[in-house]
């Protein structure tokens, strides 16, 4: 074969390949468009039926007919959106409808199938419906190979509101297949105050430092006084400074009076600046006269950054803290420059 004929043959092959690719692309587009049109037609039929069902005073799930798989999918998609917008009897009516048509059971089965999008959507629906029997499937999905599925499962577990999910959510922060800390935190917050007992357990050293820090932080928001002893223990003895700082902030946020002495002790003994700053903040949050001695000592410590944090905390303590700050500023000794700086900033902000 000559060079010219080889060139022609290559040109022909490339042209044929181009034509095949063009036809295949057009075919795929046509198939997708047809599928979208079919989906829109099905939704146009299911949507008014679903809204009509919800408009009834005593809706009967059997009255809404779902005659095809496509209609079932449409019902699932529409319901996932509606569930997040409803509460009360109308929401329960929608949950009954999904249960009666097997949509929730089908979603549980889909959590084990190939196709990450399907698994994520199934998790989303099970969470939106707060379908408690799905706890094992959603917990399993926290270790899914797809990161989006893992995040969807963490969000769904939060919406379930079952504290049994707390250990798995905290464990999802470590290992090879993790869930982002923000997603885990929101999931735990969604569970609410019932998560507190399991979060106390989350301070245990078998969990990672990231998990222990999140557990401590959330106990400050959800825990109440019953977790104060464990948080004081974490402030004193946890080997990770992030956990100690989170425990200090939690104690301040909770306003636990018996935390004053351990917080003041931490101000003296703690070596890590970030923990000391969190400790001053916590003493400020506790307010009143309880932490004034510790804060005054921190203000006069000679550490400029710590003194600034202590001065801010004294302002947060209220009138007694502010009066002390003014006395220190007037006295002109250690901490006076920082006290004057903070008082000036507070005055300017007014």
């Amino acid at each position: 074969m000559t060079l010219a004929s080889s060139f022609v043959a290559a040109l022909v092959a490339i042209s044929v390949l181009l034509v095949v690719l063009t036809v295949a692309t057009a075919g795929r587009k046509a198939v997708r468009a047809a599928r979208d049109r079919r989906g829109a037609r099905v939704e146009a039929a299911v949507r008014p039926a679903l809204l009509g069902y919800l408009a009834e005073d005593e809706p009967d799930p059997a009255a809404l007919e779902i005659t095809s798989r496509a209609a079932g999918r449409s019902l699932e998609e529409l319901s996932t959106g509606l569930l997040t917008k409803l509460r009360g009897e109308d929401r329960r009516a929608l949950e009954r409808l999904l249960a009666a048509h097997g949509v929730l059971e089908s979603a549980r089965e889909r959590t084990r199938r190939p196709g990450a999008v399907g698994r994520a959507r199934a998790a989303e629906l099970l969470g939106a419906a707060a379908h408690e029997p799905a706890l094992p499937e959603l917990t399993m999905l926290l270790e899914d190979r797809d990161p989006d599925v893992r995040s969807a499962a963490a969000r769904a577990l939060g919406k379930l509101g079952d504290p049994a999910a707390v250990p798995a959510l905290l464990t999802a922060l470590e290992g090879r297949r993790t869930v982002p800390a923000g997603v885990v935190t929101m999931g735990l917050l969604h569970i609410g105050p019932t998560a507190a007992a399991s979060l106390v357990d989350g301070l245990d050293s078998r969990y990672s430092p990231a998990a222990r820090a999140i557990a401590a932080e959330l106990l400050g928001r959800l825990g109440g006084f019953q977790s104060a002893d464990e948080l004081i223990g974490a402030l004193r003895a946890d080997p990770d400074p992030g956990v100690r700082a989170a425990a200090a902030r939690a104690l301040g946020r909770m306003g636990v009076p018996r935390a004053v002495a351990p917080l003041e002790a931490a101000l003296i003994e703690e070596q890590v600046p970030a923990v000391r700053y969190s400790t001053t903040w916590a003493l400020g949050e506790l307010g009143g006269t309880r932490g004034l001695a510790g804060l005054a000592a921190a203000l006069g410590s000679g550490d400029h950054a710590l003194a600034r944090h202590a001065a801010d905390a004294l302002v947060a303590c209220g009138p007694s803290g502010r009066a002390l700050l003014e006395r220190i500023a007037d006295a002109g000794g250690p901490g006076a420059p920082e006290a004057r700086e903070t008082l000036g900033a507070v005055g300017a902000a007014r």
């Binding site: 949507r47 008014p48 809204l51 009509g52 919800l54 408009a55 009834e56 529409l78 959106g81 509606l82 997040t84 917008k85 409803l86 509460r87 009360g88 009897e89 109308d90 929401r91």
Partner: protein, 123 residues
């Protein structure tokens, strides 16, 4: 037949309320943003307005303030419907002249009761 105007950029909520209100015997008109909602309120003279807070063009409180500044619409009862549920938000909502406040996620049944009560009071 009392006429109710629903202004919300969420199609699910608009449609759900339309079905529920129509089933209860109200004449329902819907709009999907604050600007068209305000225009509809001036044109249709509704007996009550259900108004979402966060909307494109004009927010619910902005619409509410405009309604209260206009003699023709100043006395139309308004229920604000919003995901903002903090105490300060509720106060801000009432400060714009809203008559009632429903936080999302919401119970359509509770909303229907409030609609009936507000219409009865303003009759």
């Amino acid at each position: 037949m009392p006429r109710i105007l629903v202004v919300d950029d969420d199609a699910d909520i608009r449609d759900m309320l339309s079905f529920k209100l129509a089933k209860a015997g109200y004449e329902v008109h819907t709009e999907e943003d604050g600007e068209t909602g305000l225009a509809a309120a001036r044109e249709l003279s509704p007996d009550l307005i259900l108004l979402d807070w966060m909307m494109p063009r004009l927010t619910g409180p902005e619409v509410c303030r405009e309604l209260r500044d206009d003699e023709a619409t100043a006395r139309v009862p308004v229920i604000l419907l919003t995901a903002k549920a903090q105490e300060a938000d509720v106060q801000r909502g009432f400060a714009t002249g809203a008559n009632d406040y429903i936080s999302k996620p919401f119970s359509p049944r509770e909303l229907m009761s409030r609609v009936q009560a507000l219409l009865a009071r303003s009759a």
